[in-house]
């Protein structure tokens, strides 16, 4: 929990700054709108967290999100009755992509960076091969509801976000979480002490695929069919997780902090927009902040928690 404090503090400062610039932000509607907008990235960050904490990467989530939305549009094709079967299928596809990523990484011993890079190319190529280059078909109103509608004033995406967040925290408190962290921290030691390392990693990848499927349902619902809905999300998700103080290389960091990292990133975008300083240089600001945040974590936290040899570039 202590690890979560720094990022929560940063998040609070950013939220306060937003509220000063835009008082509407403090009203329930304004805040809910922020949560709704952040939901897909936060969910992706939770998924990415499982993979990163187990010592791996998942670069395929962005193109998985695009693929899922395009698949949904083509299969539903405006037919409301197809909504639920297609949603079920999307979730299965997400899990399946994660399974393949996980199995190739663990059983064929290919670095996950390469596996998921390959998966990124394969997914984006295959889905457009199937639809002939551009998305076709249309999403049903029922499908759109998850990203557009809500239960009274509360958007569905916020409720889904809460459910996903709670499930992620619960998972990390359960045995699975301890297994995963042990795997990421020291794979060999974990394996020697009887942890089923490969299984833990495969499940982590499947959770990331599942998160991408959920994010795709929310994003597709929010704005409809688009060929570039998932573009760049993999880097945003990894950045968010790292911003939350989770260490690349695995073994350290909490899922709550990862999700807070995603909120922070989203708040940072909002803030830079609001203050109108959001020129092209916004990227530069973002780059500096990311490096600074990780550097601060690397310099201080390891000293506080684990006096390890200064092998920070390997980050474990």
């Amino acid at each position: 929990m202590k690890r979560t404090l720094p990022i929560l503090a940063v998040l609070m400062v950013l939220l306060a700054a937003i509220a000063i610039a835009n008082p509407h932000f403090l009203e329930p509607a304004g805040f809910l709108a922020f949560l709704k907008r952040a939901a897909p990235l936060v969910i992706l960050a939770a998924g990415q967290y499982f993979v990163i904490v187990s010592g791996e990467f998942d670069l395929s989530v962005g193109s998985l999100v695009t693929a899922e939305v395009v698949i949904a549009a083509r299969l539903i094709d405006g037919d409301g009755s197809a909504t639920w079967p297609v949603i079920a299928l999307l979730i299965v596809i997400g899990l399946l992509v994660g399974l393949v990523n996980g199995v190739v990484t663990t059983k064929l011993r290919v670095p996950s960076f390469i596996v998921t890079l390959g998966m990124l190319l394969i997914l984006s190529g295959a889905v457009f091969l199937w639809t002939g280059g551009a998305p076709r078909g249309a999403l049903s109103e029922g499908f759109r509801a998850f990203g557009r509608g809500g239960l009274g004033p509360v958007p569905w995406s916020v409720l889904i976000l809460l459910a996903v967040g709670a499930a992620a925290i619960w998972l990390m408190r359960a045995d699975f979480g301890k297994t995963l962290i042990a795997t990421g921290d020291n794979e060999r030691a974990a394996a020697l002490s009887g942890v089923r390392v490969d299984r833990a990693k495969i499940i982590a990848f499947m959770l990331s695929g599942l998160a991408a499927a959920v994010a795709a349902i929310l994003l597709g619902g929010f704005a409809g069919v688009s060929a570039q809905v998932g573009q760049g999300l993999e880097f945003s998700a990894i950045t968010a997780v790292v911003l939350g103080g989770v260490v690349l290389g695995g073994g350290r960091g909490s899922v709550l902090a990862a999700m807070a990292g995603a909120f922070t990133l989203e708040a940072l975008f909002t803030l830079l927009n609001l203050y109108g300083i959001s020129g092209a240089l916004e990227f530069t600001v973002q780059g500096v902040i990311i490096i600074a945040a990780v550097a601060a974590g690397a310099v201080h936290l390891p000293r506080m928690f684990t006096p390890r040899k200064g092998d920070a570039h390997a980050a474990s």
């Binding site: 639809t131 551009a134 069919v225 573009q231």
Partner: protein
């Protein structure tokens, strides 16, 4: 990180255009504005004129809108506005023909629709026995090698759709010496191609949309301008023409934002503006791909949709009809992909072709909406494909027989 490219891009353009923001302008490029008409527009909210703006082209395009095109009325892709014909007798040769095509990319729905239309057009002509295409995948460097490689394939004519204007010029110039070259969509900075085919152009597009808004939005009304991204010539011209129109009008442009062509971002931007200003009275867009997302932002906020422009994309036309919007759709017709093939055959048969082949550029209005809106086409189909009579329609374009 694409989500905030919009704001980034706004800023980039403002800065490059030497805008009067608080940022220093010392960083602007040496390239001076190419027009004398970049008059200051302080207060109108449209910023400085784009450095891509060329007054002569602007005037020419706006004039072309009123001119009647020559050629068969039912085949706008064979029509030309005020053509000055070029002699092609020296290219005359007997068939059968081998045509080559260096394509910039097929990476967006507009190019997808166009590419399918072109392939179908080629299929109509038995005298074309071979059609070789290389796809540059949006990479200038690859297109340069592609053009070089195609010259060695024994093409009788080379069609080029350049990825960017300036960087492809040397490659096209080199090819001109070997085969008749036909350029379409984006131009190159040389007049060595036998013909350059394009619809009237971006100024006409931007002005059509802006004039509609000026007419429909009450004086002092707040207009939001949404652009895809800066620095693309064919999009810059659209905005610079709209800017000219808005500057002369009484509407107030409250924001010029970049969407990256991303639906989610477009919707977020429009929602933010609705929240900030309470009411937006008109939306101008430089491309229609995300028009529906902009409309949904109003719907989700429980507000009536103000006058808006889109493009001839199926989802927008459908929404327009269903929600009975106050809208207009200027076009950049995909039927222009048919013309290069027709031009190539004319050239090889020694028939004269317009040196600058300006195709008509119709706009979709409430009156003619029903003639352009075809049922059962995919959401990102472009209505002005001129493909309804081609073999394989509608399935090859992703549609369903009704």
């Amino acid at each position: 990180m694409p989500r905030h490219k919009a704001t980034v891009a706004v800023f980039a353009v403002l800065v490059v255009a030497g805008c009067t923001t608080d940022k220093p302008t010392a960083t602007t490029q040496p390239a001076a504005p190419t027009s004398s008409a970049s008059r200051s527009a302080e207060g109108s909210g449209t910023g400085e004129q784009s450095k891509f703006f060329v007054q002569a082209d602007f005037d020419a395009q706006l004039a072309m809108r009123a001119q009647a095109p020559q050629g068969p009325a039912d085949k706008p892709w064979e029509q030309a506005i005020a053509p000055r014909m070029a002699d092609t007798a020296k290219y005359k040769k007997d068939g059968p023909y081998h045509l080559c095509f260096s394509n910039a990319a097929v990476n967006n729905p507009w190019r997808q629709v166009g590419w399918k239309t072109m392939q179908a057009e080629v299929g109509l002509h038995k005298e074309i026995t071979k059609f070789t295409t290389l796809d540059a995948e949006g990479k200038d460097d690859k297109q340069i090698s592609d053009i070089a490689e195609l010259q060695a394939k024994g093409c009788d004519a080379l069609i080029v759709s350049p990825n960017t204007t300036a960087t492809l010029t040397p490659a096209v110039t080199a090819a001109c010496g070997k085969v008749p070259v036909i350029v379409f969509d984006r131009g190159v900075e040389t007049d060595c191609p036998v013909t350059f085919i394009k619809p009237i152009g971006g100024y006409a597009f931007g002005a059509d949309a802006a004039e509609f808004l000026v007419e429909k939005v009450p004086a002092g009304g707040k207009v939001l301008a949404l652009r895809i991204l800066p620095g693309v010539d064919v999009l810059e011209t659209r905005w610079s023409a709209a800017k000219m129109t808005f500057d002369k009008s009484k509407v107030q442009v409250v924001g010029v934002e970049f969407t990256d062509g991303d639906a989610a971002k477009t919707k977020s931007i429009v929602s933010d503006y609705i929240q900030r200003y309470g009411k937006i009275d008109g939306v101008w867009m430089d491309a229609g791909a995300t028009a529906v997302a902009a409309i949904e932002a109003f719907e989700d906020a429980g507000l009536p949709v103000p006058p808006i422009n889109g493009e001839d994309q199926q989802d927008f036309l459908q929404k327009w009809k269903d929600a009975n919007l106050t809208a207009v759709a200027p076009t950049y017709p995909t039927y222009q992909w048919r013309t290069p093939v027709i031009a190539a055959l004319k050239i090889l048969k020694g028939e004269e072709v317009p040196k600058a082949w300006n195709l008509p550029q119709p706009k979709v209005t409430s009156e003619n909406l029903s003639t352009y809106l075809k049922p059962n086409m995919p959401p990102l189909h472009y209505a002005l494909c001129g493909c309804e009579t081609l073999p394989g329609f509608p399935e090859a374009w992703g549609g369903k027989k009704s």
